[in-house]
């Protein structure tokens, strides 16, 4: 049963990574930038949810909605003030700006919320855990909710990008911005929208992550952010199914490495797997290779 428990925990953690990785991969697909501040948006989302539950006494569902709304606005603001002026700058400069935004979010959180860890109250406290095989296998409610949310988000995004007008505009922009603009697509607005969606998803991921691992600090988002970025690259950056696959794989590998090899070395193994995959398939698992033209 240990194996099954680990597998389920791995899928659950992987689902959180997958939701965060979606934010990375969509932003990369359209803006061709590594948004290092994404991990910290997760932390902000979790703090908003924590505050509205603990200080305002709102219901979990309302808190989550508030947190998603807050992060969506935050994402748009970040894009407008930090990244938009740099549309034509070299990618490294945009990366540095993203790092600046990341520090800004972390340290603002540090000043407002102080550095002591907060114990995050689970958003699904009322739901019972499921017992299978006569109580031998216990699955916590948050695990099920996380996996279901991830599936729901994936289906929703797939529908959004393939069927709706905005989603198609988004794909067009990530293919060729110039051509998209000529076809009458508002590129600036589309990019803002991608940031909004990505940040909204980050808020959900933050709440789910902190419900499963309930310590909340200003640096909470940093490591999951890096892992999710790794997951996005593993699956093939820019590809939405790739982010889902990479995230779940990464979560499973991490939990198994923790269980069978050692907690301390788990991160090293996760990153080693990434290097091996990239060496065999340089564009990631589901990424498509582009040929360079002279």
């Amino acid at each position: 049963m240990g194996f099954l428990t680990n597998l389920i925990n791995g899928i659950s953690l992987g689902s959180v990574y997958a939701i965060i990785a979606l934010g990375y991969t969509m932003v990369y697909g359209i803006a061709k930038m590594l948004n290092f501040a994404h991990g910290d948006v997760i932390m902000v989302g979790a703090y908003i949810c924590y505050c509205s539950m603990s200080y305002l006494g709102l219901s979990p569902l309302l808190s989550i909605l508030l947190s998603v709304a807050g992060c969506t606005v935050l994402g748009i603001l970040i894009e407008h003030f930090a990244y938009k002026p740099l549309r034509n700058a070299p990618s490294l400069s945009v990366l540095i700006t993203a790092i600046g935004v990341s520090y800004l979010l972390q340290n603002t959180a540090l000043i407002i919320m102080k550095s002591d860890p907060k114990v995050f109250p689970s958003v699904v406290e009322d739901l019972p855990s499921v017992e299978l095989f006569g109580g031998e296998l216990r699955i916590q409610a948050i695990t099920i909710v996380t996996v279901l949310t991830c599936i729901f988000v994936m289906l929703g995004l797939t529908y959004f990008t393939s069927r709706t007008k905005l989603g198609k505009a988004m794909r067009a922009c990530s293919e060729d911005k110039g051509a998209a603009q000529l076809m009458g697509i508002n590129v600036d607005m589309t990019i803002s929208m991608v940031f909004a969606i990505g940040s909204g998803l980050a808020a959900i991921a933050g709440v789910l992550l902190c419900s499963a691992y309930p310590t909340l600090m200003p640096t909470t988002g940093a490591m999951p952010g890096i892992k999710a970025f790794t997951a996005a690259v593993l699956g093939g950056i820019g590809s939405i199914p790739g982010a889902a696959l990479g995230g779940v794989l990464l979560g499973i590998i991490e939990i198994f490495a923790k269980a069978y090899i050692g907690t301390e070395l788990a991160d090293a193994i996760v990153f080693a797997v990434l290097i091996v995959v990239l060496l065999i398939k340089p564009s990631g698992l589901l990424g498509h290779t582009t040929t360079e033209k002279v």
């Binding site: 990369y28 090293a268 060496l279």
Partner: protein
């Protein structure tokens, strides 16, 4: 004629860089001699030297070779711990200068081996993929060193991935690297002068490389990989060359940095340190060695000077980063700066016409 002028321009620029560093060293040294340097500033001198070396070496990868590396602290870490182990093994019987030199040389050796090991396979990757692999590499190094124990007794060296007990040292044996606690009891071999010499060495290596045939090949690969390949430049060789030289120099800087403290933990050399070095390079201007040197010095001092404002310190640092990037690339701001510059040059031209200050 054109060629000669070009070369002399590069040499002059290099001499300015050496002169700048030397002048800064002499001024700082005078301040220390006269006792007017503050205690906190004196504690910062060796770290500043180390960061200048790190920024210069990373500049070789990011600016000159055009690759994004997010794992420079990994090489720093390898160099630091190699240097520590080697000087500990040599013992206090050896002359300090010789110890330091052997420590630095072995740091450079292990870091360059690590550079080849990681660089050789990943040089097939491009752009952001290379970035994520170097990031992963830095994290792996940190993780492995967190689980690495090394000890020495009369039978020689012992290492373990489990615990200090598992080393099975006999009486009189010492633990050199103690897992997450890192190394302690490091001999204080670094000095401001050693730091100055290492900066000069790093600058000498990097600047000479840039102005050599290999350096031009590296820059050709950066500017247009396919065109460079088509004129017969071995792309992988030159990318790897820049990467490995930078790794070796970072290893030496790491050893210098570590030997300034009595104990060093592996988690000091994490992703944030790599990012810090990258920030130094980008703010100094990618590929501009002198700019990197200046920004390394300023940005190491700035957070310390801002310590009195407590938690707001890093907030200001973050705003400086965002502001500097926006100031450089925001089209509206660039336009605004261009206008101001035009206004100034128009004024000066006016003066020239009136027979005022002229060039000759």
């Amino acid at each position: 004629m054109e060629k000669v002028r070009h070369l002399s321009k590069a040499t002059r620029s290099n001499l300015i860089t050496y002169g700048l560093v030397t002048a800064a060293f002499i001024i700082m040294d005078l301040l220390i001699e006269t006792g007017s340097a503050s205690y906190s500033l004196m504690g910062l001198l060796v770290p500043i030297c180390a960061y200048i070396c790190l920024a210069t070496s990373l500049n070789l990868v990011v600016g000159v070779s055009g690759e994004l590396s997010l794992g420079h602290a990994g090489f720093m870490s390898i160099g630091a711990f190699t240097g520590i182990v080697v000087v500990q093994l040599l013992g206090s019987g050896t002359n300090d200068v010789v110890r330091m030199l052997i420590g630095l040389a072995s740091a450079a050796a292990t870091a360059s081996v690590a550079g080849i090991l990681i660089g050789w396979p990943v040089m097939r990757l491009q752009g952001d993929y290379l970035a994520i692999v170097t990031l992963a590499f830095g994290e792996i190094i940190k993780n492995l060193l967190n689980n690495f124990w090394l000890g020495v007794d009369k039978y020689g060296l012992h290492f373990s991935m489990k615990s200090a007990m598992a080393l099975g040292l006999t009486d009189g044996g010492r633990v050199l690297i103690n897992g997450p606690q890192g190394a302690s009891g490091i001999p204080h071999l670094s000095s401001f002068f050693a730091g100055y010499l290492l900066i000069m060495f790093t600058l000498f290596v990097v600047l000479n490389l840039i102005n050599s045939r290999s350096g031009r090949a590296i820059m050709a690969v950066r500017d247009n990989r396919i065109a460079a390949q088509s004129v017969g430049i071995n792309v992988t060789k030159y990318r790897l060359m820049a990467f490995v030289i930078a790794a070796a120099l970072a290893g030496m800087a790491g050893a210098l940095y570590a030997m300034n403290y009595s104990s060093v933990m592996p988690k000091k050399f994490d992703f944030n340190t790599s990012i810090l070095i990258l920030v130094l390079v980008v703010l100094g201007g990618m590929g501009n060695i002198r700019g990197g040197v200046i920004s390394a010095a300023v940005l190491t001092i700035l957070p310390e000077r801002l310590r009195f404002i407590g938690d707001f310190r890093m907030l200001i640092y973050a705003l400086v980063l965002i502001g500097a990037m926006n100031l450089t690339y925001d089209t509206r701001l660039v336009e605004w700066r261009r206008k101001i510059r035009e206004k100034f040059s128009a004024k000066r031209q006016g003066q020239d016409e009136r027979g005022g200050v002229s060039g000759e």
